[in-house]
Structures are given as C-alpha cells and as structure tokens.
Symmetry: C2
Subunit: 191 residues, 2 copies
C-alpha cells in the first residue's frame, strides 16, 4: 500500500509493477491475424460482435444509422478460420487476476461449441492472457474439458496454465504467434 | 399485364405465378444450419452482421442499449464452419431477377476472401437463389472466378447457373441441403 500525498491509500502500484505493453489481447490478435493474412499464412478472422438490431434510422441518404440495438450472448467462439487446410477455432480471454481465470468468462454455449468443433475434427483452443504477468497461453480444448469434468472449481488456477498451457511466443511483428504453437503440434504428429 | 378493377395496370401476376415458399434464403439457411447442428452433421454458422458501435447507453442496469451504430462493409463471406474435418466457407445471395445475378452484390473484399480460402484448401462456394424460379444453386468459387476473368459482364446470366451450378435439393426438414451437394463432390473425389 502506498501512502499518497492527498492522504488516500492506494494499491495501484502493484498493478503498475506488472505493466503490460499497453495493448489488449484483442488488439494483439487483430494485428497477428492481419499479419497472417497479409503474409498468406492463414485466413483467420474475429467474428463481429453479435447484436440484435431493433431500429434503424434511414433518414440520412448515405448511411443507415442503427439507433436501437442490444448485445447478444455469443453462441460460438470469437475466432475461426483456415490454416494449412485445417479448421481453426478459438476463444480469447484476458484476465487481471494473478491467481486464476474465472470459468464464468466462458459461456456454456461457447463450451458446447468447442466440444462440437473437436468432435468434427477441428482444432479448438483457448488463448488466455494473464495481463499482470504478461503471459499468453494456448490451451487445447480437450485439456480444458478434462479440467472442467475433474473439478467443481469455478476458476482455473494460474498454475494449471503453467502446467497444461503452452506459452505463446511474442515478437514485434507477430504479437501473439499462436500458429507457431499449432505448427509444433502438427510437426509432433499431435494434430 | 392484368387490367385491375381500379383501372391501373399491373404485371404483378407474373411474379405471383412463380411465388416462393415465403421464406427468404437467409431464413432457409438458418433452419438448415440449425438442423445440421442438432443432428450433429456439421457446425456452420452465419457470422453476425458487422457493425461499428459508436455509442452505448448504460443507464439501464440489466441491459446496455446501443444507441448509435453503423453497418460495415463485410470483409469476409457470411457463413463458415466445419464439415467432416473440412473448412467450409460460403456467401448466400438472393435475386428477384429472372435473367441474371448482378455481380456488384458480391463485394470485392468477399471475392478476395473466397480466393484466399481456395488457396488455403478450404471449400469455398456461393449459394444463389433465383426467387422467381424458386431455384437455389451451389456454385464453386473456382467456377465463379473463371467466369469473372473470362468476361467484362457486370452480371452472371441465369443460363450460366443452369450450366455451371448444382441445383440444391429442398425438403421439408432441410430447406437448402447444400451438404448433399458437397457430399457428392467428396464421393466423386473432386474435393
């Protein structure tokens, strides 16, 4: 705890100590997917945010303006696409917690979707960033399902990610180079 | 032309002669994909309409209300997913024209995306409905690219669909059974 000049206490300095590069996981993934697309490595997109459009104003001739819409609960994961002829499908989650990822962050519909993808021979995984450690993990869905079915815990501890996850390398051009992880699994004959 | 009691002329009867089942191609595809999902045949979704959200009203505690948003030009096709381990990707278009599909209905970005999918060994196609004939065709993207590169026409004539497209069967449970067409291509060793 830091005693601030104005007399108020704050524990913000703890967070600052683990300051990230300033980019969110979503921004990093957008740049990564753009790089993959431009270098013709893979075709992977984030799906648009699902919204229910209730009212549109067509007054303006050039652009229709949506004036009433609501966010929907996603029924699938956020990202999918194709890589080396394989169907890739994943969800990305970022947490500020130092100890665990709250399972409620993944909707039941999304878990069902991930199970379906695995069943239909797609490559399904989760990308999880622990912002305070600046660590981004790739976790295959089958490992996630195993965790969920083996426990009643409502969160996945950070230690589990260290054990079961694969740390995704970072470089200037490819912010979250998750395809390098997929590649090592293809080479290892695991996919 | 029909001479109506009120003395006005109308050629609407022509349209009525070819009346459709009353469902749009999008509705039919939604039902079809739902059926495929529920019968565990494939996992294919329509992507949400891409919108740029400008302003959200958080006044209400339960639901955030989007009060200003705009439609974006799609950069990919509308549908994608997985079938028998294959990456499937397609766009659906419906036309009221009896003679042709206007090419401007497919955005240049979508054509680029389709070319990328083909290059990365995905199955890329177009589903086109001529509402007045109640005909729904599947056209593989490679055939579409061939057409575009061989002509300067701004539309694809209906006769071309008869020649190059595959008529998609309809039944009560599966409104647009496009996977049966994909199946015949897999069996024929063409995929």
């Amino acid at each position: 705890m830091v005693n601030y000049p104005n007399g108020k206490f704050s524990n913000r300095s703890k967070v600052i100590n683990y300051a990230r590069r300033g980019m969110s996981l979503e921004e990093d993934l957008n740049l990564t997917n753009k790089y993959y697309l431009e270098t013709d490595k893979a075709v992977i997109y984030k799906k648009p945010t699902p919204v229910t459009i209730v009212d549109v104003d067509y007054k303006s001739r050039s652009t229709a303006k949506i004036v009433e819409a609501y966010f929907q609960t996603p029924s699938t994961t956020d990202y999918n696409g194709i890589y080396k002829g394989l169907y890739l499908d994943f969800e990305a989650k970022e947490t500020n917690s130092k100890t665990a990822l709250v399972l409620a962050m993944i909707h039941p519909h999304q878990l069902e979707h991930m199970q379906r993808v695995v069943k239909h021979q797609g490559i399904s995984f989760l990308i999880v960033r622990f912002s305070c450690y600046d660590e981004t993990y790739l976790v295959f869905s089958t490992d996630l399902f195993e965790f969920i079915s083996s426990t009643k815990r409502k969160s996945i501890p950070h230690s589990w990610f260290i054990e079961k996850g694969i740390l995704i390398p970072y470089n200037f051009q490819i912010k979250v180079d998750y395809l390098s992880v997929i590649d090592s699994y293809i080479l290892g004959g695991k996919i």
